[in-house]
Amino acid sequence: MSAETPNPAATEAPVPVAGRSVMKRLVTNPMGAICLAYLLFVIFLGLSSPFLAPFQPNQADLNAVNAGPFEPGHLLGADSAGRDILSQLMWGTSQTLLGSVLVLTISVAAGVTGGLLAGFYRGKFETAADWVNDVIMSLPSIVLLIALYALTGPNVMVAMAVFGLLVAPTYYRLVRAVVVGVRTELYVDAAKVVGLSDQRIIGRHVLWAVRAPVVIQSSFILAAGIGIQAGVEFLGLGDPKQASWGGTLQNANNNIYNNRFGVLWPALLVTLTILALVLLGNVLRDVLQSSARNKTLRKDRRRELARKAQQERTAATSDLPAQDVVLSIRGLRVGYPDGPDSVREVVHGVDLDVRRGEIHGLVGESGSGKSQMAFSTLGILPKEAVILGGSIYQGGEDILADDKSMKKARGHRIGYIPQEPMSNLDPSFTIGAQLVYGLRAVKTISAKEAKKQLTTLLAKVGIRDPEGIMRLYPHEISGGMAQRVLICGAVAADPDLIVADEPTTALDVTVQAEVLELLRQLSKERGLAMILVTHNLGVVADLCDTVSVMKSGRIVEHNDVESLFEDPQQDYTKELLESTRRVELLEV
């Protein structure tokens, strides 16, 4: 509850990937299906060469020297020695497949194992493994492979094995980073406590987390392997007696003046195969790392909904709110996409009035829609949220009706106090810089003047050394202090209304009492109205004048604070009160 996110969809963890559904989603994705089909075709080409290839790889046919494409018997033509290009490519395919699988096996074995161990145990092993990986990454692989030729002679498989070791750091870094994150997860701690051995924790919990990134990376590594192999062969470092993609390309290239089309086929094969693998990698990333259902709304549908809401607004006979009302919400409805066409409504037509100087408590449990109300008022709903209808009047204008009045209201007339003080301060700027920047964005005053005003105000919100604090960075102050700084920023522009979203939930109870005291004092001094979103009925009893109780997107009960606590009408309010009072210390 304390971590209520504005977006219900965002709370969902990435889907656990079960083998079958991944395959299904891969095939139903058009790009994935095309890439997969092409790669299967290449594999078929390689495996079937002993049976289907029209010629042996080195079988020369002197009648067909430099034959062009589509000549009888030689579909793709023949090279300068009269060898059939199609047959050479087919025989070369198995060679290429073998080479890239070798690269993959060796790099995964070395990189993933190293990354798992380094990330899980850390310490000296990690330091050493990091060093080794840095050294390997600094080696130029092509130069190394050429140098290797002097040692081993024309042996592409050895070259590929070495290349596998050279790309292993890619896996190592990827896996280590993921594992370092996973090892601090509570479920790993829980596994330790129930007595699982390290091998089982790694095998069961950690390996699962690295599975998806490794699969995606493998697609790219296979592509790199094929490219390097063709390159090495093209440079003439391959075995000339064996057919290969790179070798065929080299022959055709040397003979380009006699047979212009010879280079086309091997070049096309290498390019398309690499392209298919890279694109497959991208599709795999989408399939493995996105959430289960596609929950983005189609753009035209979104526009249509916005238009409908606007029409409703203009059609509505607006009963103009009373004079002293600073904020008036009428029939607010908010929804979130459920699919490309459907929207799930989470706030169902809520009305709310806040008068000058009134502190209005908006209570409810997680998912009740209370934060959605606050975010709508501030115009900071998550991007995918849709306002389905209703109006928010602020100073006589409907701030939902056009963006300009929303911008004008925000900061000037409405201030915001967030739940997490620390994450709402930018860690790379000093407190002073942020406050001055914020104030000058809404008021046309000099930096010096802004600084002077803010220093006075900081002292007022209970900060003892305001000038010293202005020079500090957010990480140098406590959470309670940060919340005071944010309160200072919210009231600096002298707004009529403050929206405070669980302003004390992240704070210790003793600090909470101080912050509540401060809010009460500010409201009294400045005639400031406040919407206080909270789950804590104690906080409401302490600070608020009026209360609205929210449940599943509706206000179920609304009253002044004393009547509501003394004589709750709704069963839900009673249940909330009872649950709260059960864990309360009354006898002081």
Binding site: E12, Y187, V194, L196, S366, V509, G538, D542
Partner: protein
């Protein structure tokens, strides 16, 4: 009085930072826990309450002092030794979202401890566990993300119960839950204690919650226990406990007004007292 099942004596925990700077987070903490009893440690952030729990579980290093479970020392022992002796201490963590592996079904999560212990029972035991924490018996084949926060915490409790532990360390088990859910989970923990006789070490920041569930309460402040006893929540002796108690707002505007006044008076008195010194 029977001998304590868990005994913490003069516990110190010091973390060494990057540049050899060390920070003492737990300072000379001693307490014990008897079978079937609930002892709570209450304190604010940075008081070290979670570190004590983690030290007992072997997840944080013990710098000096000793922790004994059933008469055997369990501080600074190897993982394999811990597996042998300390299986009787289990845990329920605060965050029901990251404490369950999202890729495992509920059944896999509950079977895991039993497999690790080489215990049998399997499916029947899973159904029994789900039943005891009030979840439908067909929950086993579902994934954690299909459950609400309160239900997930029930799954975590079932996992802790799987090995019939003598002690469960509850590290803020209800602070991430809604208040109505919190009430239900606390009632469940009490029921389970009556049925199984398990002892709880309950860690929380909320004096009210602690008062409801505990036999004895220890108040932590900056790594030390400032007060430990049966009536700490209702009749606090130490100044800090009083401040803590006064700071929690009551869900009743009139009573809260009185409490607020009392708190401000207490703070003013303290200031005067400090001024005189």
């Amino acid at each position: 009085m029977p001998s304590p099942i868990l005994e913490v004596k003069n516990l110190d925990v010091t973390y060494t930072g990057r540049h050899g700077l060390s920070k003492k987070v737990i300072n000379d903490v001693s307490f014990d826990l008897h079978p079937g009893e609930t002892v709570s440690l209450v304190g604010e952030s940075g008081s070290g309450k979670t570190t004590i729990g983690r030290a007992i579980l072997g997840l944080a290093p013990v710098t000096s002092g000793s922790i004994t479970f059933c008469g055997e020392t369990i501080s600074n022992i190897s993982r394999s030794e811990r597996r042998r002796i300390a299986r009787g201490i289990q845990v329920v963590f605060q965050d029901p979202y990251s404490s369950l592996n999202p890729s495992m079904t509920v059944e896999d999560i509950l079977v895991e401890p039993m497999q690790a212990a080489g215990a049998s029972g399997g499916r029947d035991r899973v159904r029994e566990l789900l039943d005891s924490v009030g979840l439908p018996s067909d929950s086993g084949s579902r994934y954690p993300k299909e459950f609400s926060g309160g239900q997930r915490q029930r799954i975590a409790i079932a996992r802790a119960l799987a090995l019939d532990p003598a002690v469960i360390i509850c590290d803020e088990p209800t602070s991430a839950l809604d208040v109505t859910t919190q009430a239900r989970v606390l009632a469940l923990l009490k029921d389970l204690q009556q049925q199984t006789g398990v002892a709880y070490l309950f860690i929380s920041h909320d004096l009210g919650v602690v008062n409801l569930i505990s036999d004895r309460i220890g108040v932590l402040y900056q790594g030390s226990i400032v007060e430990l006893g049966e009536h700490v929540a209702t009749k606090p002796q130490h100044e800090y406990t009083k401040r803590l108690q006064m700071a929690a707002p009551v869900a009743d505007p009139k009573k809260q007004r009185e409490r607020r006044a009392a708190r401000l008076k207490l703070l003013a008195d303290e200031k005067v007292g400090a001024g005189r010194l």
